[in-house]
């Protein structure tokens, strides 16, 4: 799932006015974009051209009617009270906007701290597909929206993530239903990305969209392998890895579903991705870089340490 994160300022407002908000029922997140329908239709027609997600099936897309999709989508929440929306309300929309996810392409993730990485890794759907590169996700990604309880839309403010309760409310219920559908459709090799430094552990079972809507909806007969990626930002040191309790919990759930898995701590393809923005970081240096003095000394020290350790190991054994 994905949405824009709320502004820092609005968090302060939440802290100060919590009580008032409960009474008034107003939200802390931005309201519905005033041109939401225009943006939705524009994104939809754009997606149908095939340039947004180059692996989407054009003939399948040509059968989608963008105005009809808007009707199905908006009837789920428009006019209702912001929190009076359940995942099931989006069932018709999600089914109508559904497109085939190519085999081996599904890419799950959990925790906002990994979102940017998985997004750039997926290469706009050319390497893997996250939910937001499917038509369903692409149409809605980045927006908060809600009704006003009087037949219209609220353009002022909508409930923030989780404010209506887990997976309830116009926005969260949508992502819940979309996530469920995404994992039911996944086939072949699948991936899931976590940040090793995520507070509370990379894999979580409480109020996690991955746990509650994706993992449990995977079809064991269709998933040939789950690759678990435990990633650490180049500026941080890893807090968890593939052997930590949190990831072992995930492994045992996959075991119980008879889904085979691999787990990778910062595999090289993603590590290169993580280095793009920090190419002057000492961990991000190519072996054949000319004139990278600090890299050469780092390499020399490593080599010496390697030899010394080899001797030490021999001595002690």
């Amino acid at each position: 799932m994905s949405k824009t994160s709320s502004e820092a300022g609005s968090l302060v407002v939440v802290a100060c006015c919590c009580l008032v908000l409960f009474i008034v029922g107003a939200g802390a997140a931005p309201g519905t974009p005033s041109a939401f329908r225009d943006i939705f239709i524009g994104r939809c027609e754009d997606y149908k051209l095939g340039g947004i997600n180059k692996l989407a099936d054009l003939s399948e897309l040509s059968s989608k009617n963008c105005s009809e999709l808007w009707e199905l989508f908006s009837v789920a929440w428009l006019g209702k009270e912001p929190c009076d929306v359940e995942p099931n309300d989006y069932k018709d929309f999600v089914e109508s906007a559904s497109i085939t996810i190519p085999k081996d392409m599904s890419n799950f993730w959990d925790g906002w701290d990994i979102y940017d990485t998985v997004r750039s890794y997926s290469r706009e759907g050319q390497r893997t597909w996250t939910l937001d590169y499917t038509l369903i996700g692409y149409l809605i990604n980045g927006f908060y929206f809600c009704g006003d309880g009087k037949g219209g839309v609220n353009t002022e403010s909508c409930p923030d993530d989780g404010e209506c309760g887990f997976a309830v409310g116009a926005v969260d219920a949508f992502w819940a239903e979309a996530s469920k559908h995404f994992s039911i459709s996944a086939e072949g090799l699948s991936r899931v990305f976590f940040n090793s430094s995520r507070p509370g552990g990379p894999f979580q079972t409480e109020e996690s969209f991955f746990s509650e809507f994706e993992l449990c909806n995977l079809t064991p007969e269709k998933i040939s392998l789950m690759d678990i990626y435990v990633l650490t930002d180049v500026r941080q040191s890893p807090q968890h890895d593939c052997d930590s309790v949190s990831i072992n919990n995930l492994k045992s759930i996959l075991d119980s579903k008879s889904i085979p898995y691999n787990c990778w701590d910062n595999p090289r393809d993603v590590f290169h991705q993580l280095c793009i923005d920090y190419d002057d970081h000492e961990d991000c240096t190519f072996l054949n870089d000319d004139g990278a003095v600090h890299k050469q000394s780092f390499f020399l020290i490593t080599c010496i340490a390697f030899i010394v350790l080899q001797f030490t190991t021999k001595d002690t054994s």
Binding site: P33, S34, A35, D38, I39, F40, I41, G42, R43, E45, D46, K48, L49, G50, G51, K54, L55, L58, C66, M105, S120, Y121, R123, Q126, R127, G142, V234, W264, D265, N266, P267, R268, D269, F271, H272, Q273, C275, I276, D277, D279, D280, D283, C284, T285, F286, L287, N288, D289, K295, F298, F299, L300, T302, C303, I304, A305, F306, I307, L309, T313
Partner: protein, 301 residues
Amino acid sequence: MVSLLKECLVILLAVLSVVQADKLSLKPYTRDAVAYEDGTTVNFEDIFNGRCYEFGCLSCLGEKPLTCDTIFSSFLDGVLSDPVCALEDTAYDSFLQLVAPDLPVDTTTFWSGTYEIAHQLSATSGLYYTMEDTFMGYLVNSLNWCGNDDQTDFDYEDCRAWDYDDCYGQATSVFWNKASALMAAQARGSVTVILNGDATTGAFRNSSFFARVEAPNLNPEKVYLVNVLLIHDLDGTPFETCDDPQTLQYLEALLKEMGIAYSCQDDPDNARFLQCSQEPEHPECSSCTKGFLDSIFGSWF
């Protein structure tokens, strides 16, 4: 000591090849570019409007609400201002005034022959703004359009090809020329240009937008440096490099004449990391990274 170091290198490289062979093998998925219609893109107005509201909404342009209808009419007026193939250079001027770019200093980025990697760089880093990241470029990027013969609406059936002899004032060609000139004219500070070092027609190709329109329209009073990022494919055959230029010397000479400094970098690390992320096992991609060392020495450190 030297022989010890050598031995260490041999061991390390041997371990490296084993570890690399053992790691994930992920191949990039590609497909040919978007299929274009011969005429104006289907639902052009819907897409234009959607992008207009989206860009305006997400980047919060100004306090007053964006009037995308006005912006669209102004664009359409430009398309229909003259008969097909006879659009004046000024056709889109009033539209471009509404959406003119004003990018942060040192961020204006041009590309030629490097569409994919240039846009991956701009998407993953805040350092580069390309034409397609500006409002004017974003609105119509990858779309096709032209007016019909009686200048009343788009022609959805057939648009004339870019041909300077037969159709000089072609709708999209006039647009991209003018937008490119505008992009160049607003650049401030240092400018980046991402060029293709494998292209056999040369990185600084005479007929490219960059050579024809953008470089000549840079304002020497505002731009002090043009930095070339010269990209080579991991498995490509370099046609030219910064040290062995085949066409880049003409860019250097042009800039010198204009009073703008020139610099050139072969395959900067951030671009290499992007390429290596797709081909992690390529020999060029060996890096002394923490993750890599951990995978070898993990049990000892």
